[in-house]
């Protein structure tokens, strides 16, 4: 992509979503936006860029922001953070919340729903044992309304089903519908979906025992990223859990988040 064209998207994304594109993200930009251009009937990405310059259609801009701000997703992405949550974090949270018998979890970049559903699948298994009678809330938010709608349906392609999802979960919790697989209602209903932009105020979101905000801040510029993390910290109970992507960190805020030893991207709220 030519530099002036790249800059148009760079400015637009920075203003609308906090995403900060460095020039090495040019290929990512083309890969994510070419399908948007096709969907909107443009002959090419260049044609869409030209049209944007002439007449910045707000609906098109929303779609562009959504396409860039939505991380690729898979069930139990990277595996280990979810194992660690189940084996180490969850027992601690259950101990500290045993009086209230309630857990509040927020997936702050839920994309197409695999992350909140992965957590729901973990928690569902414990509902018949140590979590029996507990009130569990999983709030899943994203900046893309289109993606949220898709996530809420809980329907995935065969290809999506094979990324990270243990086969016994497929067998026990999904029903095949032609080429697709539909998540059963008991799991689907455990997750509440809502639109949310990470740049907006979080004070009305309530307090959480665990927040998952994975692979989205990596595209933010440092000051924005720090700002989001500081505000997220206010919504996490002391001793609560923060999961970032495995290549992300909150090292600029050592007073707010303590790293979980040997677990990249995972933190305890100080």
């Amino acid at each position: 992509m030519r530099t002036p064209d790249f800059d148009i998207y760079k400015d637009l994304l920075r203003e609308r979503s906090g995403l900060f594109l460095t020039p090495d993200k040019s290929a990512l930009l083309e890969a994510r936006l070419s399908p948007v251009a096709r969907k909107w009937g443009f002959e090419s990405l260049e044609a869409m860029t030209a049209a944007l310059k002439e007449n910045p259609d707000p609906h098109l801009i929303i779609r562009i922001v959504e396409a860039m701000a939505t991380p690729d997703s898979s069930f139990f992405r990277d595996g280990r953070p979810f194992d660690y949550f189940r084996e180490t974090i969850l027992p601690r949270l259950m101990d500290s919340r045993k009086k209230e018998r309630a857990l509040n979890i927020w997936c702050a970049a839920a994309a197409s729903g695999q992350e909140p559903y992965s957590l729901a699948l973990i928690l569902k298994e414990l509902e018949e044992g140590p979590l029996a009678g507990w009130e569990i809330r999983i709030l899943a938010t994203d900046i893309s309304t289109e993606t949220l709608q898709q996530a809420g349906q809980g329907v995935y392609s065969q290809f999506e089903m094979q990324r990270g999802l243990p086969i016994r979960f497929l067998l026990n919790h999904f029903t095949q519908e032609g080429e697709k697989w539909r998540l059963h209602d008991d799991i689907r209903r455990m997750v509440e979906y809502r639109y949310f932009n990470l740049l907006d105020s979080m004070t009305d979101m309530g307090k959480f025992d665990a927040v998952f905000c994975r692979n989205v801040l990596t595209l933010f510029e440092d000051t924005r990223k720090k700002d989001v993390l500081e505000r997220l910290a206010l919504q996490i109970e002391p001793g609560g859990f923060l999961a970032l992507g495995t290549s992300e960190n909150a090292d600029t805020l050592p007073g707010l988040f303590t790293p979980c030893p040997g677990q990249p991207g995972l933190y305890i709220r100080s």
């Binding site: 898979s74 065969q158 086969i167 067998l171």
Partner: protein, 123 residues
């Protein structure tokens, strides 16, 4: 010790593609083009993992798996089906016969890696 994987598929092309992916995950690979040859390979040397097609001439994947699990040491390999069979019924049948994981073709490197991780074969 190097981990080993036996790749069982009647298509030479599929074996070649899968082999390259599995070798990149750090496994030494053997190949077999049907269940019978795969059993013979396991008798000689029991692999750490088997990537297993379902539909093959001479002996199919499910029969291979049942016989493997009856062999001495035959419980130890992780067996991952990799097949066009994509119904819940088939998946259930495979798990009941002792499969560890299940891939529905078409596959790519990321799917194989993800399933090897789920089967506890890699970190």
């Amino acid at each position: 010790m190097t981990k080993t994987c036996l790749i069982v598929d009647d298509s030479r092309v599929v074996r070649k593609v899968a082999r390259r992916i599995v070798e990149d995950l750090g496994f030494a690979c053997e190949e077999a083009e049907n269940g019978k040859l795969a059993l013979e390979s396991c008798e000689k040397s029991m692999p750490s993992a088997v990537l297993l097609d379902w539909n093959m001439p001479v002996m199919d994947g499910i029969e291979f798996l049942r016989r493997l699990r009856d062999m001495k040491e035959g419980k130890s390999p992780a067996v991952i089906f990799c097949t066009v069979e994509n119904t819940a019924g088939r998946v259930r049948q495979a798990l009941e016969a002792g499969a560890s994981e299940y891939i529905m073709k078409p596959f790519d490197g990321e799917i194989i890696q993800s399933k090897f991780r789920l089967a506890g074969l890699i970190e």
